[in-house]
Symmetry: D2
Subunit: 333 residues, 4 copies
């Protein structure tokens, strides 16, 4: 019973079916009709004209956005525990040619304008110090918290005031939107976000994420950077098809809701053991080593996050029986 992560779940049947549907000859790279329809489809979802590209990983989406927003001699403010800082093997530095991640503090890996300003204000504006050029937040955060539109907008206002670009790592954007119940537009461009890494792989796709630019100015250079990074697959239609299938009839949102519901059930069982409020599909639980061992002995697989703390992640397909069993096991610790 796997609660290790949502990143290795099987592919949703409708996504697999969509790939079979495009298994015909078409133009290479992103010249095919499916890739070409992404902008329109995502513009509809976001209620504004967007430019989007597919990429095979969230790391690629994040880092292409950072490269578009930050020069090599600049910096990007993010949370100390952000995925781009801790889990991408130095990819942000590779794609940006050495820009610096400037680390902010914030409860539950969530940032406020004050957290961000504290980092920036400590940096003298001279050539000896790397200057911030962008902010990147993760929604849902690495600890499973979500941003309300007004919280994002407050950061967006700060970015606008300082002349910075604003990126959202939405590896679990579906879980965040499902949790808050807002429109995708309200929590992104209407709140000042310039680019969104719109994650699908953790949510039912196989190998396709969308990088969505709300400002078309960055699109052309990003197409070149994508090719230059070896990310321009020649049969792009199989990636576009995954994204289109995920958007069809709001499959992405349904899957996000399903994963969230599983986590909520675990949270209810966890009570005082919760390290963070459970707002999306991740549950951080206080557990002694003995308790963790007991859970594993009972057949549950999960991540030891920190001493005395484990992480449980539900996915779009997590078996309800497994969830029920885990909830019972937690309650019985």
């Amino acid at each position: 019973m796997r609660f290790f992560s949502d990143n290795a779940a099987p592919v949703h049947p409708r996504v697999m079916a969509a790939m079979a549907d495009v298994d015909v000859l078409d133009t290479a790279y992103d010249g095919d009709r499916w890739s070409q329809s992404l902008d329109a489809r995502l513009s509809e979802l976001f209620e504004t004209e967007v430019r989007a590209i597919w990429v095979p990983t969230g790391t690629a989406a994040n880092c292409l956005a950072l490269a578009a927003f930050c020069p090599p001699y600049g910096g990007v403010i993010c949370h100390r525990d952000a995925h781009i800082q801790n889990d991408e093997g130095g990819a942000p530095e590779f794609y940006t040619h050495g820009a610096k991640l400037m680390l902010a503090e914030g409860v539950g890996a969530k940032l406020t304008p004050a957290d961000i300003a504290a980092v920036a204000d400590a940096v003298a504006n001279d050539v000896h110090r790397v200057q911030p050029h962008a902010v990147s937040i993760t929604n849902a955060t690495e600890y499973g918290l979500v941003y309300r539109p007004d919280e994002v907008a407050a950061i967006g206002d700060l970015c606008r005031a300082r002349g910075w670009r604003f990126h959202m790592d939405g590896a679990r954007f579906a879980n965040a939107v499902a949790s808050v119940g807002c429109s995708p537009a309200d929590v992104t461009w209407r709140a000042g976000v310039d680019a969104l890494s719109f994650g699908f792989v953790k949510n039912g796709a196989m190998s396709a994420e969308a990088l969505v630019f709300f400002d078309a100015a960055h699109h052309d250079a990003t197409l070149r950077r994508r090719k230059r990074a070896g990310l321009l697959l020649s049969k792009g239609r199989y990636l576009a098809a995954q994204i289109l299938a995920m958007l069809e009839q709001d499959l992405w949102l349904d899957n996000g809701r399903a994963a969230n519901a599983g986590a909520a059930r675990l949270a209810a069982a966890a009570g005082d053991r919760l390290v963070h409020p459970v707002q999306a599909n991740e549950v951080f639980l206080r557990a002694t080593p003995d308790e963790a061992t007991a859970l594993r002995a009972a057949g549950f697989d999960f991540y030891d996050w920190a001493p005395g703390e484990v992480r449980l992640v539900t996915a779009w397909d997590t078996n309800p029986d497994h969830i029920a069993a885990l909830a019972t096991a937690i309650a019985g610790l």
Copy 2:
């Protein structure tokens, strides 16, 4: 009737079936059992112990190899018309952090030791000049020629003598091996090749190429570079499965033979119009603009390679009726 390229063909049914077979929960990244079996399977094929990784594009495979073999301040000798020089949007420079491609001449994009030495010997060995650290050849070449094992070995000897690493871009390795009829080992490591970009996408896969190191020393750093480049897909089993399916019962070789056979039929019809001997699955044809227009009017799609010259590419699945029709059309020009 598409003869534009082999890079957009549908996916072979056995590859699609293999992806369906791995559509279960497993460990993320390359911890799954399919990814973990790649080394053994490829070691068997190459009759020596190899270390291999999957990547989603040939550009990624090539450039990870170059980054392993050449420091940022070094150079890589390749043909003036090599894919890495002309068709990868600067990816070699990105992955190597600015190494220089040093361009050699050679008939049909094929290089000899003399061609390579001519480039190297023109460079004084001082700090003002970028020094060569590696050689990269393409097999089959960009003009559809293939290397015999002894031809590769002659270059391998030069590399060994000079202390250079030796990379083979095998985007169409299947076509080359099918054409020469040699063992994969003879035309690679036994001939001094240190790494092979083993292409599958042009030959029936969807989104998986293998980068094969014959020297394990480079493997660990390459795993880190792959992650850092945003190329480490979280559901790697779907890529590993493609490669395994292509290797199963020599599907890769059968597909290469099929594509080559189509090209041979076109070559027979082309006669004196051939710009290069047809040894793999590409046909370069002399054709006036009017003749090209006539072929297009007859329903054939292809690439205008150069003034008075068109390129026709066959793939594993090219419809024999289309080939027959095109052969007839060519003969009738």
Copy 3:
């Protein structure tokens, strides 16, 4: 008797004196009064408002300009024999983060708009090909030829029409201006040049070159790139003083004239042996190995440029007696 290069000559006494004059306490980096006066002094010389910085080498000046003008995924068109291509150890690729030098042909390392357009027009405008973003010419060229203002302007027009930036490597700018007898303005910004590497080290300075931007837009980022490259000396006043001394009473021009006069005298003696017209301070001479040996035996030091060809360079301080002796020796070959 050294005719090897002009890059190792002693420092002009007025430059040494200027460094002694600034040997007092002042603000660090470029906050001192001498560094702060560079813009004004160079604006006066160029008859327009310029932004200038000191750097310790011509390579640094060139590469900071290229980094300002070309994104990592772009290209810079230059001559096949340009200093940036052959003699800077890969510095352009380092500073630009991997941009590609796109090599043009041209007699005597001099480029025409047609030479440049030929390179650009061979590149399809798609993401697979690196696109040109800038042109860099050397004046005087690597073979001692100079550009007239109208020749530069023709290239400037091409750059403007194509949306490219235009850089001039003026390591021997003094020799070029002295040769043509034009105003510095006419052969630079009035002819469309966006930045000039204004060389002083080959012409009497110790360790200071000026990078002059005719478009202030690039200045701020370049200040940051200079620091990031470890080029921001803390006692910048000693560099600024060198440049100011070279500009004082047109010392730079007098020194350039002196070097040119020496080369002209050698050229007169060389007659049919000249490989290129002698327009600045470099003389390329046909000489058999035996003749070269004889010249060396007579006490002359110089560079073997190519088989059967030697290079003789005069400097601001070359001893007239040495020149006379060499002229006699050449005539006597």
Copy 4:
């Protein structure tokens, strides 16, 4: 009366004289007899065979060392307040092609093995996390503390045990050695240091620092990196001469002692106001804004380090009358 920094002081007369002495024609770059003698002279000082190069800035020395020791995908552990982290404008990331600085805590910017291990041990050894490859310490530290040989050796042991390289930023190495009274060898290679940025500019030179490798393996690549960074001045003898003059009759050590003595006198006057013990030539003083204003009104120039804290730096040439005056002023606050 300037106590702002030691980085803008005039050049020592013996250094100026040495530059005049080399003001003759010689071979370019580092082929001259002075540059060629650096290795021998520094080997003598360090009592072992070293390889050394001159560079014009401490940033360049530091970052060339880091580039030699850490691959682009790796990390360097340093103090949170290290110069390489805060004051080099992103140069470490530029030279290393994006390696990550991994920040350790430590009192007075000084690190212990435990501080360093705490950073490393928090990083899982997988491809998602950047792994440490080197440690860099500053001696004297950014807060004017110095390392004893045994303290350095303890870190050296850790580096050896973990397979890391060990760099010492010795911008104020003279002050450190003068303070501890140890041999240069004991506090560097005998304690496990692999490379030292040996600073001279803050201590009486104009524009020359030495990067000293105690392991010759890194030397050749570093020569290429130096050229590639635009740091290879063509008249290198003027830099070599500065270093040689500083080493002559231990001028470097005398200058370091002189600066330290000035700081000691200020420290004695400061008493309880000291933020850190004064061990070298920097004094960090608690002072209210009003007190800082009063000191400035009395003619003293210095740096506002942090709220309620100012930094006073003495140099080799600080006027004893100024020091006496400042000591009196501090005592009278």
